[in-house]
C-alpha cells in the first residue's frame, strides 16, 4: 500500500495558488456520487431489505447458480425455533447486531413477513445467499473505509499541518517518524498487530471496552493509512506558508489566526478532500489484499474482500461457480471506480492549481 503515488507532492510549487471560483461538477463526478449514494444506502438499510440472512447455511442448495429455484419465497430461518429465546434467530442469521440494525430486522419481518428474494445472485458452497452477503458485506467494507477516513483526518491532517507550519526541527522529527512507519513493510505490521490484538487477554480487555475483533481490524488498517495524508498535507502547508498572498496578508498585518482561516484552510481543504478520496479506495483494496493472505476479516463476518477471495477459489477449470467471483468483485470495482471518478471531479473543483 505504501508504494502508490502521492499526487502532486513532487511538482514544484511556483504556480499561482489563489483560490478560484467554483465551477460545476462534471458529469462523471455526478454519476459517481449517485453510485456511491446507492451503495451507502444499501449498506445502511440492508437490514430492512427483503433478502435472506447472510449467515444461514443450507447445504441442500449448495452452489445454486443465479436466478434458479424459487426467487421469491418464505424463509423458515426468519423466526425463532422452538425452545429458543425469541430473539435468538436474529443472532443466528445476522450475527451480533447493534440496536438500530436489530430494530430494522424486526421491522423487516413486520413489513414483509418471511418473504424474501432468494437466490437472485446465486448461492455459495454452504448454500448462503450471495446477494444478501454482498449487501451485508458492504457494511463492513464501507466501515473499514470510514474508519480509515476518520483516522486519516484526525491524525494525518493535524500531523502534517503542524509539521509543515512549524518547519525546522519539529518538521524534521515528525516527518522522520512518518518515514520510519512507512519503512516497516505494512504486512508485518498488520500481521503482528492482528495477532497481538487477537491474543486472548488483550482481546477480552478490549471486548469489555466494546471493541470487538472487527473493530480491532479496522483500527489496524487505519493505523497504516494516515501516513500519506500527513506527508501531502505537510507538503501543501510548506507551499502555502511561503505563498505570495500569505506574505501579502502578513505584511498587511493580519493575525495568524486570520491568515489560517481565510487563506490556508480553504486551500488545504481541497487537497485534503482529494487525497481522502484516493486513500479510501486504497484502504479497501488493502482490506481485500489482507483477505487474500488470510489475515483479513474472519468468518462469520463478511466483507467484499472476503467474498472476492472466496470467489477466486471457486474459479476452478471445471464448472466454475463464476457468480461467486464476479458479483463481489463487481461490487468492489464499481465502488472503487465511483470513488476514483469522484476524486477526479473533486480535484477539478477544489484544487485551485489545476485549471482544466
Amino acid at each position: 500500500m505504501g508504494t502508490s503515488p502521492e499526487p502532486m507532492a513532487a511538482v514544484s510549487s511556483s504556480m499561482e495558488v489563489s483560490p478560484r471560483p467554483r465551477r460545476t461538477m462534471p458529469l462523471s463526478g455526478r454519476l459517481a456520487t449517485g453510485v456511491l449514494a446507492i451503495v451507502v444506502l444499501v449498506a445502511v438499510f440492508v437490514p430492512l431489505a427483503p433478502l435472506p440472512s447472510p449467515r444461514t447455511v443450507d447445504t441442500a442448495r449448495s452452489l445454486e447458480p443465479p436466478l434458479q429455484g424459487r426467487l421469491l419465497e418464505e424463509l423458515p430461518e426468519l423466526m425463532p425455533r422452538e425452545g429458543e429465546a425469541s430473539d435468538a434467530w436474529i443472532e443466528r442469521g445476522f450475527g451480533d447486531l447493534g440496536l438500530v440494525s436489530r430494530l430494522m430486522v424486526q421491522g423487516r419481518v413486520a413489513l414483509f413477513g418471511r418473504w424474501a428474494f432468494s437466490g437472485v445472485l446465486g448461492r455459495d458452497e454452504l448454500g448462503r445467499d450471495l446477494c444478501a452477503r454482498i449487501c451485508w458485506g458492504a457494511r463492513v467494507s464501507l466501515a473499514v473505509a470510514l474508519v480509515a477516513a476518520v483516522v486519516t483526518l484526525l491524525v494525518g491532517v493535524p500531523w502534517g499541518a503542524v509539521a509543515g507550519w512549524a518547519g525546522g526541527r519539529v518538521d524534521d522529527a515528525m516527518m522522520r517518524a512518518v518515514d520510519v512507519l512507512n519503512s516497516i513493510p505494512l504486512v508485518f505490521l498488520v500481521v503482528f498487530l492482528v495477532t497481538v490484538l487477537g491474543e486472548d487477554s488483550i482481546r477480552l480487555a478490549l471486548d469489555r471496552l466494546g471493541i470487538g475483533r472487527l473493530a480491532i481490524f479496522f483500527l489496524v488498517v487505519a493505523a497504516v493509512s494516515w501516513l500519506s495524508m500527513a506527508r501531502i498535507v505537510r507538503g501543501r502547508l510548506l507551499e502555502l506558508r511561503d505563498a505570495t498572498y500569505v506574505e501579502a496578508a502578513r505584511a498587511s498585518g493580519a493575525s495568524p489566526a486570520r491568515i489560517l482561516l481565510r487563506h490556508v484552510v480553504p486551500n488545504l481543504a481541497g487537497t485534503v478532500v482529494v487525497t481522502l478520496s484516493l486513500t479510501v479506495p486504497r484502504v479497501m483494496l488493502f482490506e481485500s489484499f489482507l483477505s487474500f493472505l488470510g489475515l483479513g476479516v474472519q468468518p462469520p463476518d463478511v466483507s467484499w474482500g472476503l467474498l472476492a477471495n472466496a470467489g477466486l477459489k471457486a474459479l476452478i477449470p471445471i464448472d466454475p461457480a463464476w457468480w461467486l467471483f464476479v458479483f463481489p468483485s463487481a461490487a468492489l470495482a464499481v465502488t472503487l471506480l465511483a470513488l476514483g471518478f469522484l476524486g477526479d471531479a473533486l480535484e477539478t473543483l477544489l484544487d485551485p492549481r489545476r485549471h482544466r
Partner: protein, 306 residues
C-alpha cells in the same frame, strides 16, 4: 551535494536502527515462536532447541547479540528454512523478484507512458476518455482479481501460456503483465496529468507562439514536465515491486522474496523476517535518495541543500 548525501545517509542509518528495534520487540511480543508445531516434542527436547537457538536468553541479551551480529553483516540462519542463511534466501529470491519486477516495471512505463501521452495530446477526446476509464478500472481492481481472471482466460480457456512456475519466457509473461498492469494504470494517470499541466504552462505557450507543431510540443516540452511526478512515484514503487508482489508470486508460484515477507511473519521466522524488513527499509531509503538526485538532475530549479 555531498552535504545532502551525508545527511540523507545518516538519517537512513538512524531509521534502520529504529526499524530494527520496533520489529524486534514486535516479533517477540507475538505469541508463538519459530518452533510452534502441532506435534509437540517432549519438554526436554524443546529446551534443547531453545538452548541451541539461544531463544532462552533474556530479551535484552538477545537484542544486543542480534544487533552486533547484524552490524557484522551476518544476517543469521533462517529458522523455518533451516538449510539456508538469511542472506542466501534473499539472494535466491532476489533474482526472480528482480527479473519479474524489472520486466513488469518496464512494461508499465512503456504502456502507461504511451497511454498517458496519447491521452493527454487531446484532452477530452475519445481516446482520452477510453484511456482514463481503463486506467481507472486498472487501479480499482484488486490485483488477485486481475490475476484470477487472467488465469481463467489465458491458461484454462485459451491454453496459451503455462499456469505457473519460473524459468522460461512464457512463464514470465502473465505474471509480469498482471504485476505491471496496476502500475501502468497509475503511471498513465500521472503522465497524463503531468503532460496536461505542462501543456498549459508558460514555456509551452511560448513554443506554440513560436510556431512549433502540436506533436513536437507534446513530445518535447510537455513530456519533460511529466517526468518529475513519474520519477518520484517510481522510487518507492520500484522498491515495492522489487521486493516482490505477494499476490502474483503466490498465484503464479514465482520463487521471489515477496512471498517470504508473509511467510516469515506468519511462521515467526525471526531472523528471516528481520532481514527482510531491514532490506525493505534500506531499499526504500536508497530509492528515495536516488529519486531526489535524479529529480535534481532533471530540474535545475531544485536545490538539494534546502
Amino acid at each position: 551535494m555531498i552535504a545532502f548525501l551525508v545527511r540523507r545517509v545518516t538519517w537512513l542509518v538512524a531509521t534502520l536502527l529504529v526499524v530494527y528495534t520496533v520489529t524486534f520487540f514486535l516479533m517477540r511480543a507475538v505469541p508463538g515462536g519459530p518452533f510452534s508445531s502441532e506435534r509437540q516434542p517432549p519438554p526436554e527436547i524443546r529446551e534443547a532447541i531453545a538452548r541451541r537457538y539461544k531463544l532462552d536468553l533474556p530479551l535484552s541479551q538477545q537484542y544486543v547479540t542480534e544487533l552486533t551480529r547484524l552490524l557484522r553483516g551476518d544476517l543469521g540462519m533462517s529458522f523455518r528454512l533451516a538449510d539456508y542463511s538469511v542472506g542466501e534466501v534473499i539472494a535466491e529470491g532476489w533474482q526472480a523478484s528482480a527479473s519479474l519486477g524489472t520486466v513488469a516495471m518496464v512494461l508499465a512505463i512503456l504502456v502507461g507512458g504511451a497511454a498517458g501521452v496519447v491521452s493527454a495530446a487531446r484532452p477530452g477526446g475519445l481516446i482520452d476518455g477510453a484511456v482514463r476509464t481503463f486506467t481507472m478500472v486498472g487501479i480499482s481492481l484488486p490485483s488477485f482479481a486481475l490475476a484470477g481472471v487472467a488465469v481463467l482466460l489465458v491458461v484454462y480457456e485459451w491454453r496459451l501460456l503455462p499456469a505457473a512456475g519460473w524459468g522460461t519466457l512464457p512463464q514470465l509473461i502473465l505474471p509480469a503483465g498482471c504485476l505491471g498492469a496496476v502500475y501502468a494504470a497509475e503511471i498513465a494517470r500521472l503522465v497524463r496529468s503531468g503532460v496536461v499541466e505542462a501543456m498549459q504552462s508558460d514555456w509551452v505557450r511560448t513554443a506554440r507562439a513560436k510556431g512549433a507543431s502540436h506533436r513536437r510540443i507534446v513530445l518535447h516540452h510537455a513530456v519533460r514536465g511529466a517526468v518529475g511526478p513519474v520519477v518520484s512515484f517510481l522510487g518507492p514503487a520500484i522498491a515495492g515491486i522489487l521486493t516482490g508482489s505477494v499476490v502474483v508470486e503466490k498465484v503464479f508460484a514465482i520463487p521471489g522474496i515477496g512471498y517470504h515477507f508473509i511467510e516469515a511473519a506468519t511462521t515467526r521466522d525471526y531472523t528471516l523476517a528481520m532481514g527482510l524488513v531491514l532490506l525493505y527499509t534500506l531499499l526504500l531509503g536508497v530509492a528515495g535518495i536516488l529519486v531526489d538526485l535524479v529529480q535534481a538532475a532533471l530540474d535545475p530549479r531544485i536545490n538539494l541543500e534546502k
